[in-house]
Every structure is written in C-alpha cells, then in structure tokens.
C-alpha cells in the first residue's frame, strides 16, 4: 500500500468537500474492492475518505420500491424481512455475493459506484430501473452505468441511497468465475409493471447492459422457449482466460432461460 491520508468525515457535505478539493482523493465504502487494489499498489489515493460515519445505512419500503442506504452491507439486504417478502430475488442476489465476510463489509453503494463489469448489484439496478440518489440529484439507472468501472457520478458526488422498484416477479441467475466467484455471466430478469427487463452482468465488454431483444420476446411470451433462438452478439462480449466471447454469449442465453424458468416455476 502506498502512503495516504485517512479522513472519516461526519457528514455527506464534509465528505463531498474533501473529494471536491482533491482529484486524487477517493471514497471508501465497504472497501472490498478498493482495499485489495490499494494493497496491490494499483491505486494510489492521496486521501481515503471513509464513508462509514455518514449514517447511510438502512432499508425501508417506500411505496412500490425498496430503498437501501448506500452504506448498507449485502448481509443486511439478504437478511431484511422487507426485502425477502417484497423482492426475494434481491435478497437472493445479496446473499450470494462473495462470502460471509465480504457480505458483512461490502455495500450496495460501493458496488454501484465502482461498477465492476462483473458485479451483481448493477444487474438488479438496471433490471428494475432503479434510481440512484446522490448528494446532488437522482439518476436513473439507465443514465447511470456508462461502461466498465464508469458511472455518471462526479468526483465529489456520493450515492446516498438506491431506490429499487419492486418487480411483480424476478430472478437472478449467475454463473461464476471459478477463481474469483464473481459472475462470469449473470442475468437478472424482472417483470416490471411496464414490461419485462433483462439485465446482463459479467458478460459485456462495456459493463452491465439490457438485453432488449430478449425483453421484447419475453413481453410477447414469457417463457424460456421464447428466447431460445436469440443470439447475443459475440462482439459485445468480454473475453478472458476463463471464458471466450462465444462461450459468454452462449451462457447469457442459458442464464436468461433459467431465470425465466425459475420465475415461471414459482407460478
């Protein structure tokens, strides 16, 4: 780790001010990505702004949405009675991120701010049409994810909470990288009041994306068969030592069909 200054502000405004004043300052949420990256000397922040003292935790039901504080760890989302009853697919997603230790530290805000192309939460946010609330504004998920590790957030902009509309039914199906256990390909299918939304993470070479062709087909007929012949463009797929683009494209179809089957199986 390189030397850095550690700050733990008491308010969002104070945190934003520190970040605004120093382009090399970085916010620390749960640290499940950031700290390993620092330990490997791949990040050299001047100031680490710890967000743990800002009180941005908690989960509540707000009309037809679940609202989760940015600093809420995955484990609390997985445990939440509100989430489990209203939006079980989200509890399932949270309960299958990393391991128990990671789930006690890692946060939804950190996951969305980092926008790792293999992260789980971006798929849920995009599939439900979530709203990312920050210290400045509200950003629709559609406008928020701008590519691998890239979001609409400004340097001094902090996610405060995330509002995820509750789907009528949803399922998250993931196929993990055998080493990292991050999704190699994962698909979140959500039946929203306005139609079915399909978000894919882990696979795309530009991060999380919506699979519109599948969405349209599923709106016509919500069944695995309806999307069986849909090809996911290989040129939009990521490729690495674990999975080639064609394999990932194939897995997108498999995971999507399984997610749809799981929803139908639940009746």
């Amino acid at each position: 780790m390189y030397d850095f200054e550690y700050r733990k502000p008491a308010s969002v405004a104070e945190a934003a001010a520190i970040l605004a004043g120093d382009a090399e300052a970085k916010a620390l949420a749960g640290g499940m990505t950031f700290i390993p990256v620092m330990k490997q000397r791949l990040a050299k922040p001047s100031v680490v702004v710890d967000l743990a003292g800002l009180g941005l935790t908690g989960i509540r039901r707000e009309g037809d949405a679940i609202v989760i504080g940015a600093m809420t760890p995955h484990g609390r989302v997985a445990d939440s009675a509100d989430v489990k009853s209203a939006f079980p697919a989200l509890a399932y997603l949270a309960d299958n991120i990393g391991d128990r230790q990671v789930r006690e530290r890692g946060t939804i805000g950190g996951s969305l701010a980092n926008n790792d192309p293999s992260a789980c939460y971006p798929a849920a946010a995009l599939a439900t049409g979530a709203t990312i609330r920050t210290n400045r504004r509200e950003i629709a998920a559609e406008d928020y994810f701008l590519g691998m590790f890239t979001t609409a957030l400004e340097q001094d902009e902090l996610i405060t909470e995330v509002s995820l509309p509750i789907p009528r039914a949803a399922h998250y199906e993931k196929f993990v990288n055998p080493a990292s256990r991050y999704p190699m390909v994962a698909v979140f299918v959500a039946r929203m009041p306005g139609g079915t939304r399909v978000a894919v993470t882990g696979a795309g070479n530009n991060g999380v994306f919506r699979h519109r062709e599948m969405e349209q087909a599923l709106d016509r007929e919500f069944s695995p068969e309806a999307i069986r012949d849909i090809k996911t463009p290989e040129e939009q797929m990521n490729s690495d030592i674990h999975a080639s683009a064609p394999y990932r494209a194939h897995l997108v179809g498999v995971m999507a069909r399984r997610a749809v089957a799981a929803i139908n199986g639940r009746g």
Binding site: M1, Y2, D3, K39, Q40, R41, F175, N177, P178, A179, S180, R181, Y182, D240, I241, H242, A243, S244, Y247, H250, L251, V254
Partner: protein
C-alpha cells in the same frame, strides 16, 4: 496405552495453538533492530540488463542499502545449487546453468529478482524498489514447452543449446519395440499435466540475522527442511560453515513441496544481514508468491500401450517433455525422471516399459516438486491410458485392470523400471472402493441424471506410488546429491517424560500428535508426557526434512531405532536394580519386568535411576537416558489404492459437479486414523483442484496471466464433495512400523479418477480424453463439437 497409542484418533495437540491464533510463524518473529527487504523483480519474461539505476532509490526515506547481482558477483557468492543431477542418454550430465541469487546479465522470467532494497520499514523498501530504474533490452521469450522445443527458439541460457536440460531415458527400448510389433491393438494418448501454483496458506518469509560478537548467522525461514537449507545455503552459496549457521523453520503454514527448495531470498537476507549489521526480514505477498514459489507439474506426454487380445498389457512406451522453468530449482530434475517414469508400471504387470524424458528451460518460474512430485504425472498418464485401452478393446474398465493387476502373492515384485515393490493388495482396495462407491448401481444413477438433463459419469483410478526415497546409496546412484535417511534423538528426562527431536518438519502433517502417539506406544509414556521438537538446526542433530510422504516411514523408523536403544539401556539398568540378567528383562506397557516373575520397575523409575545413578552399574554403563538414531531405509514404501469419482455435467454450461468421491488407500499401519483421513482429504482436494480448476497460464510473451486468486482457481469448500475415506493396511515389509506414508496419496490417486469420470460422462460425445483442468468452457466446447456427430449418428 491403547487409547492414545498407535491406532487411536487422538485429537491434534497443535490445534489449540493454531486455532487460537497462537502459532508462531516466521512473519510473527521480529528481531531487535530489524530492517525490511523488498525485491525489485523483472516484469519482462526475458531481457538483457543494460543498467540498474539505484541512485534515486537510495536517496529515498528509510533506505539503508540496495544490492544487485553485481554485489554478489563481486564477492564470488555462489549460485543456488541443484540437489539432483540427471544424466542424458549419451551419459552427459544435464545442463546446469548458473542460478545467481540476484539476476546477472539477463532476466529470465517475470518475477526474477533484480535488486534487493533494505529499509527501515517494509513500505519504504517497497517504495524504493519501485523507484529503481531498470534499463532492459527485451528479448523474445520462450513461454512454454512448445516454444522451447521449436526450431531456432530463443535461448533462455545462451550456453544451453535448444533449451534442452537433459534427454533421459529408462527401460528396455528393444523389448518394448518387439512387444509392440506383436500387439493385437495399441492404445494411444496425448496429454498435458497442467502447470500448478502451490499456494500454501502461509506465503514464504525469511529473516537473516548476523551476530557480530559471535560471528554466527541465523536464518528464520518457511522451510520443510531446515537442515537441507543450512547445507545448501551454507556450503554452496554463502560459504558459512554449519557450526556458524543456524536455520530455524518454526510453524510453517503449508508447503506441498514448494518450501523444500532453497530460494534466493533466503540467501539474500542472510548475506545482507552481515552487510548492514542488522537483521533483515522479508515476507512474501500472495502476488509475489505466484511468481516466485516454484510451480508444479507442466509435462506434455505421448504414451502408447501395446495390448494383447485378452486385454493384457504387453508394453508401454512414453515420451514426455518436462518444463523446468528458467532455472533448475533444488530437486527439479528428479521429478519427471526418477520420481515419475519409475512409476509407470503402476499396479500392473506390464513386462516391458520404455520412457524418454526431455527437460527444457523456458522463461517461466522454475518448476519443481509439488504434492506427489512426478507420481501424479505418471499416475494420471497410466490411469487415463488404461481407460483408453479398455475402450480400444471394448473391455470393461474394471476387468482390464483386474486382468493386469500384480497379484497379491507376486510380492515382492520387480518392475521393468527399476523399482521393486515390497507389498500391496490391489484387489482388496478395488473391491472395497467399488462397494463403498456403489459402482454396480451406477448405470441406474446415470439414467436418472439423464432424465434431469445431466450427464453422469463414474471414473476409477487404481494407483500405486513410491514414498520415502531410499536407500541413500540408490538415491545417490540415481543422481541425488544428498542422503535420504532420517534422524531422531530421544531424550528421556529424569522423571520419565520424553522430548523427541526429529529431523522431519511438520507444516500441516500433525507430527506433534502422531509422533507423540508413536513414542507413547513404544515407551508406555502418556502422550502428554511427550514433546516433539522440529524445525531448528540448533536443537536437532540432523535431518532431511518432510516431503515425499517420508516423515513417518523414515523419520518414525528412526525414532523406533532410537527408542530400541533406550529400551535396551533401560533393560540393563532394570537388570541391575532387580539383580537379574539383562537378557531376562522384558519391556512392555511402560514396565521392565523380570521374565516369569512379578518383579518389575516402571519406566520413570529407570529414567530417574539413569540420571541419579546412586545404585547403578556405573562401570559398564554411562548415566543418562538419551539416544540418537540415523535410519536409512532399505527401499521406498509403496502406498496404493483405489479412487472412485462420480460426476455430473451440466451440458448447457459445461460445469462439472463432483457428486461423490471414494478413496480406499493402502498406506500400511495407521497411527492416527483421524489424521490419515485429513491427509487423504486434503490431497484429494488438491487433486480435484488440478483436475477441474487450477491452471497456471502464461501468454506468448511470457506474461503470467493467472497471477492472483482472482484468476487462479483454487478449490473452494463447495467445489468438493463429501469424501469417503477407507484404508487398508498391507504392511510395509522393510521398516519397523510397517508404515507406508499418506501425505500424497490423495493428490496422486485422484486426478485420473476425476477425469476418467468426466470422460465417462461424455462417452456419447466421441471423446477419449479431456485435458486438465476440465473447465466449464472446455467441456462446453467438447459438447458443442460432439453434438452434431450425435445428431448424425
């Protein structure tokens, strides 16, 4: 004593310390006035050093000294020695290029150490190491065996033509040729034994300390064999005589072979501690471990088995290329040769075998022994080839094995590849394994899985391996530059408690428990009265350490020999006290008894008499009760057994799930069944890791692509099934305990069982072999390629 002696599942005495965070590992040790070392390492696979700029780095905060290869060259410091010399077919010795502590002239792999920075703190040392300016002329790299063998390949070492380290062979080529010419059928296979990264839980660490007052050096290091390190580093690298060099290997968190070898960092910190006149500490990080710990396996083989019409094996021919990496690690040349090709008979009566092994240098991390060392490679090749042969003949996989088993009454059995097996009973382990695994009911399970859309397969491996390399004379004739005996010192204290000093080293093997049980059994002393000491050259007379499943078979036998001397002396003391003849004294259950009488003396009483010799045969017998024994085994030991794996493949994703795993291993006498089960399960976890998950990947430029746990897939708990472990005990005939060794059987027997199961699951897809690791992508591709053929049929 039966409840805690041989055969009892005594709980591990070391667990309290380990589970409560009270272990004392090398990194837990901090010496007064300690400094910290960091190494600047090559980020190119192959390059010529044009310049190393250290001025700016030297001026950085906390920096005490920076050393490069030139500093070692200036003092004529030796290179890291290789402990095993192999000769080529033509009698010439292997190419043995210099292996400097810090690179000189060229950089030969990503991770090769260029410079060492010593600073007040670890982070300061790292900051300065990064600031060193390297001027490197990049050279084309040789990233794998294929590249190393290619016509006109770049040379890793300018003085090693063709990158060829040696071209070795064993067996009778003419007899094999003759057998092939008369064969009914020939089964053939091309296979890769995938390159692995050892990934012990504890990364390596080393602290060098020089005492100017005494002139003594101490090295604390993560080693499986501190005396071997003292010999190699002291005698060959730094020229420090043994009496001035102490090597301490305290608690060590896993080795799997990777901590046998003498590494550059050990020599560097020891040497530098005298230069800066302060202790120098280095602790490896995981990422650094990936590119500096010796890797394992990395063989490419072609094999052919000549078959008679009835399924008998007539002859075996094997051609292997072995990757040595950039330099010869300590025991690297022995792995593909004497530890592998000598195992090619397996459990079968194949009358003629011929194997050729060519070893090559590449611009990769050095490759050396990893759990099983050569024996997993031979076993994988043979057990895969037997399955191919069964298919070739349309024969049942069990039937072809039974047809060729060495019968239990044929022991001792001389193989055509040097080894003479002393004992074994392959039918016994096979029958028990098949029964536990429910082999007979498999087809019904396969049909049931098919109905669920899953491809189910079952695979078997009936293997044999060789542990405890021995005797020293034979090992020496085969190229070992060391003896392979073991040493034990048994110190009986005046009140009858016992300290055992062993030259073996425990880094996960539970020696502190097992050896205490052994002593308890032999001397009749309770386990809690026995202390086991290992890992310090200042406390232990000598020893060769722990690897090759040798600790109990060789080290335990040395203890038995030392205890025999203790008992013999005790009988003389007892005879004196009870006014009897020593020949009439019997020792059992901790008591010396005059035969045929009820007169007896307890062990503790004899011990006290030995140290308080008031009434003592002082004219004939020295006081005290302490004995040392060196034990040189008469032969290897030969554990073997039967591993059966059952898998299900998800044909849509290619994911292989292990449904069941049964291991019935014949390891001779069992001291602690619980420890044995743990060793077998751990070995199988690593074998499953090799078979399904693990793969060290270099790109064509020699960059290491799987250099972290994000990309190198270690087995997770949920990758593993419940492993059913059974043991059989056909005793070893030539050591006093009848023990064979258990540390490696799991890693040796399991990979072919897994892959045989995978191939069986894919039996309808026209596949005869799947290389390890059987990743989902690989399986998916096979299914994709096989599907049209299925449709056409």
């Amino acid at each position: 004593m039966g409840h805690e002696g041989i055969g009892a599942s005594v709980k591990r005495r070391e667990d309290y310390r380990f589970l409560s965070g009270r272990g004392r590992y090398t990194d837990d040790i901090n010496r007064p006035r300690q400094t910290h070392a960091a190494f600047r390492r090559s980020d190119v696979a192959h390059g010529r050093i044009r310049g190393i700029g250290t001025e700016a780095a030297k001026a950085m905060p906390g920096v005490i000294a920076i050393f490069t290869g030139a500093d070692f060259a200036a003092e004529a410091i030796g290179g890291l020695p290789c402990g095993w010399q192999v000769h080529s077919k033509d009698g010439s010795p292997m190419a043995e290029p210099a292996h400097p502590v810090l690179a000189q002239g060229k950089l030969r792999f990503v991770g090769d150490a260029v410079a060492m920075v010593i600073a007040e703190t670890r982070e300061q040392a790292r900051d300065a190491a990064e600031a060193i300016e390297l001027d490197i002329e990049a050279l084309p790299a040789v990233a794998d065996l294929r590249a190393a063998m290619a016509e006109g390949a770049p040379l890793v070492h300018d003085d090693v033509p063709g990158n060829l380290c040696f071209d070795w062979h064993i067996g009778d080529a003419a007899a094999v040729d003759a057998a092939f010419s008369g064969a009914h059928r020939v089964a053939k296979i091309d296979l890769v034994n995938n390159r692995l990264v050892p990934n012990a839980m504890e990364p390596r660490a080393a602290i060098g300390e020089f005492d100017r007052a005494s002139g003594d050096y101490t090295l604390y290091t993560t080693s499986q064999n501190p005396h071997v390190i003292r010999l190699l580093m002291g005698a060959f690298v730094l020229h420090i005589p043994e009496h001035k060099l102490r090597v301490v290997a305290p608690d060590v968190g896993g080795g799997f072979g990777s901590k046998i070898f003498h590494y550059a960092e050990e020599a560097a910190v020891t040497w530098a501690s005298a230069k800066v006149n302060r202790p120098v500490k280095w602790t490896c990080e995981r990422g650094e471990a990936f590119i500096t710990d010796a890797h394992g396996r990395d063989h490419v083989s072609h094999a052919e088995l000549a078959l008679a019409e009835d399924g008998r094996f007539l002859a075996l021919r094997v051609k292997t290329a072995a990757n040595m990496g950039a330099y010869l690690s300590t025991f690297a040349p022995s792995v593909p040769t004497y530890l592998s090709a000598t195992l090619l008979a397996g459990v079968y009566t194949t009358p003629a075998i011929y194997a050729e092994v060519r070893a090559y240098f590449t611009n990769t991390v050095p490759v050396d022994a990893y759990r099983g060392a050569g024996r997993p490679e031979a076993t994988f090749l043979l057990e895969r080839l037997v399955d191919v042969a069964a298919r070739e003949l349309g024969m049942d996989r069990i039937a072809i094995r039974r047809r060729n088993f060495i019968p239990a009454d044929a022991y001792p059995y001389q193989t055509p590849v040097a080894l003479q097996y002393d004992s074994g009973n392959h039918e016994a382990t096979l029958a028990r394994g098949m029964e536990i695994a429910g082999w007979a009911g498999f087809e019904a399970r396969r049909a049931e899985a098919k109905a669920r859309g899953r491809l189910r397969g079952i695979g078997i491996s009936t293997y044999l391996e060789a542990c405890g390399i021995a005797p020293s004379k034979v090992a020496g004739a085969l190229g070992a530059r060391a003896g392979l005996y073991e040493v034990a010192n048994i110190r009986v204290h005046p009140t009858g408690s016992v300290t055992v000093f062993t030259g073996t080293h425990s880094h996960g093997q539970s020696h502190e428990t097992t050896f205490a049980q052994l002593v308890s059994e032999q001397l009749g002393v309770p386990v809690d009265q026995v202390e086991v000491v290992h890992g310090d050259t200042a406390r232990i007379p000598f020893g060769m350490g722990t690897y090759g499943s040798r600790s109990l078979a060789v080290g335990g036998s040395a203890m038995v020999k030392a205890m025999d001397k203790i008992i013999s002396k005790g009988k003389k003391i007892a005879a004196h006290l009870m006014e009897a003849s020593a020949e009439d004294i019997e020792f059992a259950d901790g008591k010396f008894t005059v035969a045929g009488t009820d007169k007896s003396k307890a062990f503790a009483e004899i011990a006290l008499t030995a140290y308080v010799p008031h009434n003592y045969p002082i004219e004939e017998l020295e006081p005290g009760l302490e004995e040392t024994a060196f034990y040189d085994p008469k032969n290897f030991t030969f554990p073997g057994g039967c591993h059966i794996c059952e898998v299900e493949i998800d044909p849509e994703t290619g994911l292989v799930a292990i449904i069941g795993f049964t291991a019935v291993d014949d390891i001779g006498r069992v001291i602690n069944p619980m420890v044995v089960e743990g060793q077998v399960q751990g070995g199988i976890a690593q074998g499953i890791g090799q078979a399904l998950l693990e793969q060290a990947v270099y790109d064509e430029a020699g960059q290491f692509l799987s250099g972290s746990l994000m990309d190198y897939a270690m087995p997770h708990a949920d990758d593993l099934p419940d492993i059913v472990v059974g043991t059989e005990s056909t005793l070893c005939t030539h050591n006093p305990l009848g023990v064979k060794g258990v540390g490696e059987v799991g890693a040796i027997g399991s990979p072919p069982a897994v892959i045989n199961a995978v191939v069986d699951a894919l039996r309808d897809y026209g596949v005869t072999h799947v290389d390890m690791p059987a990743t989902p992508q690989k399986i998916w591709r096979i299914i994709q390629a096989g599907a049209p053929r299925m449709a056409a049929e």
